[in-house]
Symmetry: C2
Subunit: 409 residues, 2 copies
C-alpha cells in the first residue's frame, strides 16, 4: 500500500514544488479542478492591479497607443511555445467558441468542393453546436457528422472538408495522437482543427511537428487566466493570408485607424483579431503565463503522469471494485485528469466538495479530477483519496440533498 510518507517524500524531491507559492491557495482545500478553472497566481493578481492603476487610470485612452493594441499578438507569442507554435501564429482573443467559429468558417471556405465535416460525438457540446452553426452558414449544403472517433478511418473520405477533434477528451481524459490523426486527415485531403482546451499547459504539444492547420484553446484551465479568460487560436503560417476570418473587425484590418470602408485583412494571424481586446482579461493571463519562465513542459508532464499514476494506484488499492477507471492507463493516451465512473457520481462529488476536495461531476456518471503539477502536491492526492474513501464508506453521497442534481455543479 502507498503511504502518506511516500507521498511526502515525492513532494520533497519535486523540482516544481517551489512554484506552488506563486499561487494564492487555501491549504485547507484540495483543488482537483484546475482543469476547469485554474487558481489565481500572485503575478496575475498584480498584473491586473497594475493595468488598472498605472495603465487605465493614468494613460487612459493613450494606453491603446502604448501597447494595448498589440496585446492579442504579444500574448499569443508568449503562449506559442506551450503548443509548439512559432512566433506570429497565435493570437489571444474572444472566447473559445467564438474562435472556433472563426476557424471553422475560414476552413470551410478553403474546401468548397467538399461537403462533410467530421467531429467527435464525445466533444464538449459547445464545439458541436458551433460547428453545426458555422456549417449552416458555409454557403453550400454541409453535413456535420458527430462520430465515434474510433470510426474515423471508415468515415474519412474525399467528401470531408474539415475534421475537428478535441485533443484530450473533456470527460475521460483520453489523449489522442495528434500527429497520426492529422496526417490521416491530410492524406484524405481534409483540413484539421484541434481543440486544445484540455491540453494546453497540461501536456506537451507540438502543432508544428504535427503539421496542424488550425487549433484553439482556452485560457482559464491549465493556463490559470481566470474565469472567462480570453481564448487563443493558432493558424499555421502557410495558411495566413489565405484563410479568412469570417467575423472581421477593425483590429484585424491592415490599417485600423484609416477607417476604410473596405475590409483588408492585416498580415498574419492578426487578421483573426476582431475587436479591441479585454485588457483586464489579457493582463491576468499575461501574469499567469509568468510561471512558465520557471517550469518546463517536460517537468510538468513527468509530474502529471506521476500524479495520475498515484491517484489511479490509490483508487485500485483503497477503493478496489468501486469505480471504473475510465481514463486510459497507457501514458501516451492520458491527459492530465482522471475520470472515475460511478452511478452515484453526482452525490460523490458533492460530498467531496463538502469535505473541501474539489473535483467535478460530468453527466451522467463521471467523477472528474484534474491534476495540475504547478501547484498540486503528491500529498494532496493522497489526502483526496482519504476523503474519497471516507465518502464511500460513510455513503455520504446518498444524502437527500444530492438526490436532485442542481443545474450548476
Amino acid at each position: 500500500m502507498t503511504s502518506r510518507e511516500e507521498c511526502r517524500a515525492l513532494d520533497a524531491s519535486d523540482e516544481l514544488a517551489p512554484i506552488r507559492s506563486d499561487f494564492i491557495l487555501d491549504d485547507a482545500v484540495l483543488y482537483l479542478d484546475g482543469n476547469s478553472l485554474g487558481p489565481v497566481s500572485k503575478a496575475a493578481r498584480s498584473r491586473v492591479h497594475e493595468l488598472i492603476d498605472t495603465q487605465w487610470a493614468q494613460e487612459l485612452v493613450r494606453g491603446w497607443g502604448n501597447g494595448w493594441m498589440q496585446g492579442p499578438t504579444r500574448l499569443g507569442n508568449r503562449l506559442a511555445p506551450l503548443i509548439g507554435a512559432r512566433q506570429g501564429e497565435v493570437v489571444v482573443a474572444d472566447t473559445l467558441t467564438i474562435l472556433l467559429a472563426k476557424l471553422i468558417g475560414g476552413a470551410l471556405d478553403q474546401r468548397r468542393d467538399r461537403h462533410v465535416v467530421l467531429t467527435d460525438v464525445a466533444n464538449f457540446h459547445s464545439d458541436i453546436y458551433i460547428v453545426r452553426a458555422m456549417a449552416a452558414r458555409a454557403g453550400r449544403p454541409i453535413t456535420v457528422k458527430a462520430i465515434e472517433r474510433s470510426t474515423l478511418d471508415q468515415v474519412l473520405g474525399d467528401d470531408v472538408a474539415l475534421v475537428m477533434l478535441t485533443h484530450v477528451d473533456f470527460r475521460t481524459g483520453e489523449m489522442l495522437d495528434m500527429k497520426a490523426i492529422t496526417q490521416k486527415v491530410h492524406d484524405a485531403g481534409a483540413l484539421m482543427l484541434w481543440d486544445l482546451a484540455h491540453s494546453t499547459g497540461a501536456v506537451p504539444l507540438d502543432v508544428t511537428d504535427a503539421d496542424v492547420d488550425f487549433a484553439a484553446g482556452c485560457g482559464y484551465k491549465y493556463l490559470n487566466g481566470g474565469p472567462g479568460a480570453p481564448a487563443f487560436l493558432y493558424v499555421r503560417t502557410s495558411w495566413q493570408g489565405i484563410v479568412e476570418n469570417p467575423l472581421p473587425g477593425w483590429l484585424g484590418h491592415a490599417r485600423p485607424f484609416d477607417f476604410e470602408l473596405g475590409y483588408e485583412p492585416a498580415p498574419g494571424v492578426q487578421a483573426f483579431v476582431t475587436s479591441s481586446p479585454s485588457m483586464l482579461g489579457l493582463a491576468a493571463l499575461d501574469g499567469a503565463l509568468d510561471v512558465w519562465d520557471r517550469a518546463t513542459m517536460d517537468q510538468v508532464r513527468a509530474k502529471s503522469l506521476a500524479m495520475t499514476d498515484l491517484f489511479i494506484a490509490l483508487v485500485q488499492e483503497r477503493l478496489a471494485g468501486l469505480f471504473e477507471v475510465v481514463t486510459p492507463l497507457e501514458h501516451h493516451r492520458r491527459g492530465s485528469q482522471v475520470a472515475l465512473r460511478h452511478d452515484q457520481a453526482y452525490g460523490i462529488i458533492q460530498a467531496l466538495i463538502e469535505r473541501n476536495v474539489i473535483g467535478d461531476f460530468r453527466a451522467p456518471d463521471i467523477c472528474r479530477f484534474g491534476f495540475t503539477p504547478l501547484y498540486l502536491r503528491f500529498v494532496d492526492v493522497y489526502d483526496a483519496i482519504e476523503q474519497l474513501v471516507s465518502v464511500m464508506e460513510s455513503e455520504a453521497y446518498r444524502d437527500e440533498r444530492f438526490v436532485v442534481r442542481k443545474a450548476v455543479t
Copy 2:
C-alpha cells in the same frame, strides 16, 4: 465673452459635481476622450479586486455556482434602464462586433424573402465589415448597401430585410431620431438594429418606446467599463424565442450542465450568450455602473448639452473662422461630443495631447471631443479651449513630428 469665473459658477451649482470624486482622475489632465475610453471609477477598481481576492481566489470553480453564470443577465438587467429596456431584454457579453454579428445573423433569418440590408456609409467601419460578413453567410444572396443616411427614404423598399444604423455618429456626433426612423423601417416591413455605442450613458434612450427590434452597444465608452470591456445586446421581448443566435454556445443552452448534443436555446435573451463570460470584465463594468445609482440620465443630458453648448460657444468666440463645427447645433440632433473640422486636425490633436488635453483625431480631418458629465467640469471645458487657442496661435500643430501620422492615435 464667456469667462472662467462663469464656468466656475456653473460647477458650483452643478448637482453632478460630487460624482467626479467617484473616479480616479489626474487633475492635470483635461480628459475629453471619455467617449472613446471612460476612466476607472473607484467602484470598478474595488469590484475587480474583490472578484480576484474573495471570489476567484477563495471560491475557485465554485464561483460559477455562486453567481458567475448569471453575470451576463444580471449586468444586462442593471444596464437595461439606461437604454429604456425592460428586465430580461439585455445581456452583457463578448464584444460589440461579435454581438452585432449575432443580431445581424438572427435578424436576416427572419426576413428570408428579402435580400437587401441598408446601413450608413458613415458607420464605424467595423459595423460595415461585420454586416457584409454576416450577409455573405445568410444562406441566400444579400446586397448590403452602405448609403448616405439622408437617402434612407428613397432606398427603403420592400426588398429590405434589415436596417442597421448607429444612433450617434462616431465622427460628427449627430444623433438620429430613433423612434421616427424605426417607425419608417417597420412601415417598410424591415427590421431595425441600432448601434448604441456612442449613445449609451451619453443620451436618453428608450428602445421600448421606439419599438426597436435589436440593439447593441459597448461598455468602455460612456459606461466606463474599462479597455475592451464586454459589450451588451438588446433583443425585444417579442423577438425572444423566435430570433436565433447564429453563434450558439453552452451558456445559451437551456440546460448547459446536461451536456446535450442538440442545441436547445435557453428561454429569453440568455440564448444570445455563447461562452463563459469574462468575469474580470464584468466585475469592472458592474462597479462602473454603480455611479448610475446617484445620477439620472436627465441630469447627465442637461449637463452634456450645457457643456457642448459652452464648448461650441467658446470655439465661436475665441477661434472664430478657424474650425467648421461639424456637430449639429440643434440639441435634439446632438450626442455628447463635438467634432471640429480642420485640415491640420491630426497635428492639432497631437499638440493638445502634449498639453494634457486629450481628445482624438478621426481621419481625415476631424478633431473630436467627448463630454462626459459624470466627471467633467465646466472649467475643464474652458481650460481646454485655452489650450486649443494656444495651439492655434503658436501653430504648434505644424511640428514636424506630426507630419507623418502614426498608426495609433
